[in-house]
Amino acid sequence: MQALLRAENLVKRYPRKPPPGSPENLVALDGVSFAIVQGTTLAIVGESGSGKSTLAFCLACLERPTSGSIWFGDIDIAKLTGEDLRQVRPRIQLIFQDPANSLNPRWSVSEILSEPMILQGRTNRDEITRRSHMLLERVGLSCELEERSPSELSGGQRQRLAIARALALEPEVLILDEALSALDCSVQAQIANLLMELQSSLGMTYLFITHDLGMAAHLADEIAVMNRGQIAEQGPTDKILNLPRHETTRRLLAAVPGLPRGTPPGLEQ
């Protein structure tokens, strides 16, 4: 199958003031390659500092890799500048861990939602309002919340709003950087359900960055395990979980606290 997004040998180095005896550069990404098929989910798991977030920033064109290519369709977005870059940015959107910090606290829900549309060049007020309402409905929020500010929303509602804002630009890829980690367990399940529903109805492609292996196991078609800026191993979810080959994967799996499973009650109407 054709890959929608393909990274080739990505390297990202950050210069740093060298403490005596250590190398001059911090190598955050050290030759990362992978591909995501359209409409599927690739989970990136790994310990803190393994390079997961740097990867997210590079893919969202917020950081430029030191070397390597990021193929989005047939464009290498790692090399784009100026207007070409502006054209491609809306197609890959990023959702962060803590919606409380990624939404402007002084703006209302409708202002937050219309900003990306205005930046994109849509100016017709009625159209923006209509689209905002559609987006709110799409992510399961009531249009009555329109005038509220983010602080008047619950954590789950805020993350729904962040997703709606990302969808405003009709992206093809959503990069979810620990997008569920700050939420309560019961709300995580709600948002995970929303993401799965959007994937099947819109054919959305996800890069799901997490250290929650349970959620990765549930949502991802493939899992890539990162360690020290490299991909330690990558493959179909069940293969990685049941036959982990790399030491990092085994360590991550061993660290998952066990929860015996009962039969989940059928809850959501």
């Binding site: 803190s48 619950s154 709600q190 799996l253 660290a255 998952v256 606290p257 015996p260 959501e268």
Partner: protein, 311 residues
């Protein structure tokens, strides 16, 4: 707003009590109420807190000073905020000792090293000389634990101590708690929203929902066979890593509809009623009391009325 509504429990020396609750459940209010460290607008209007024979609510400021940090310590969620950014780790532990113990310089230094080495079996010297930014999240959290146990308290209250850590670091912290209980007989109240964390560590689990205890019982029983609809739903909403049935992957998770924002709460009746899959007519009007089902396992839900041992 009532953050806690009639919460009663006891804790034995050396016992680990897991407090499970989501945002708005009152778990953090509980953590700061026990050593009377509530913010200015927080008042304990009713009840009593008895600790080592003293009533904490009646204690004088002087007595409180001898309890906080010395007999009861708190460990907070965000180690990067709780530590002083420009002070070496060892010095931060030493200052806790200096605040409580009238010891000399050498005794203080020796004790600091000793405390740090209980949480860092290796590399004590390097950690002690490091600034917080030079440490990993897990290491910073262990420095906080070292501060908490420096004066040899009998109770440590840890509020989401692993929330910002990756799984490997999480497990390390859990191991540290386990060792502290075994070696020092420390009692621990571990507050978390993650039930998996409590499995295999806690002796008992207390489940809070909107300021009330909904379930309290032996950890093994509560985790393996939860009885309250909220506890059941909470556990059911967490995806399994090793799903027996592979076709369950990418299927809808059993999420609990709605959220627990107290603004939307009914003023009467069971607080979980609006989200409960097993709600009954009377749940809307009456609030259930905690009733004991089996040995030390109590649930507050009308489903179990008549099954109570004592009713």
């Amino acid at each position: 707003m009532e953050a806690l509504r009639g919460v009663s429990f006891d804790l034995k020396p050396g016992e680990i009590l897991g407090v499970l609750g989501e945002s708005g459940s009152g778990k953090s209010a509980l953590a700061s109420a026990l050593p009377r460290l509530l913010p200015w607008n927080g008042k304990i209007t009713k009840g009593a807190i008895r600790f080592e024979g003293k009533d904490i609510l009646q204690a004088s400021p002087k007595e409180l000073q001898g309890i906080r940090g010395k007999r009861i310590s708190l460990i907070f969620q965000e180690p990067s905020v709780a530590l002083h950014p420009t002070m070496r780790a060892g010095e931060q532990v030493r200052q806790v000792l200096a605040a409580h113990e009238p010891w000399g310089k050498n005794a203080m230094r020796e004790r600091t090293r000793q405390v740090l080495s209980t949480v860092f079996p290796e590399e004590v010297e390097r950690i002690s000389e490091s600034y917080p930014h030079e440490l990993s999240g897990g290491q910073r959290q262990r420095v906080l634990i070292a501060q908490a146990i420096a004066c040899g308290p009998s109770l440590v209250i840890a509020d989401e101590p692993t929330a910002s850590l990756d799984p490997t670091a999480q497990m390390e912290i859990i191991e540290v708690f386990r060792t502290l209980r075994e070696k020092r007989g420390l009692a621990i109240i571990l507050i978390t929203h993650n039930p998996a964390l409590l499995a295999g560590l806690a002796d008992r689990v207390l489940v809070l929902y909107c300021g009330s205890i909904v379930e309290l019982g032996p950890a093994a029983t509560v985790i393996a066979s939860p009885r309250h609809p909220y506890t059941k739903a909470l556990f059911g909403s967490i995806p399994a890593i090793f799903e027996e049935n592979v076709s369950n992957r990418k299927k809808k998770l059993a999420a609990i509809p709605g959220d627990s924002m107290s603004a939307s709460l009914p003023l009467t009746g069971c607080p979980f009623e609006p989200r409960c899959p097993e709600r009954m007519q009377k749940c809307r009007k009456h609030e259930p009391q905690l009733m004991e089902l089996a040995e030390a396992h109590a649930v507050s839900c009308f489903l179990f009325e008549g099954q109570s041992k004592r009713s």
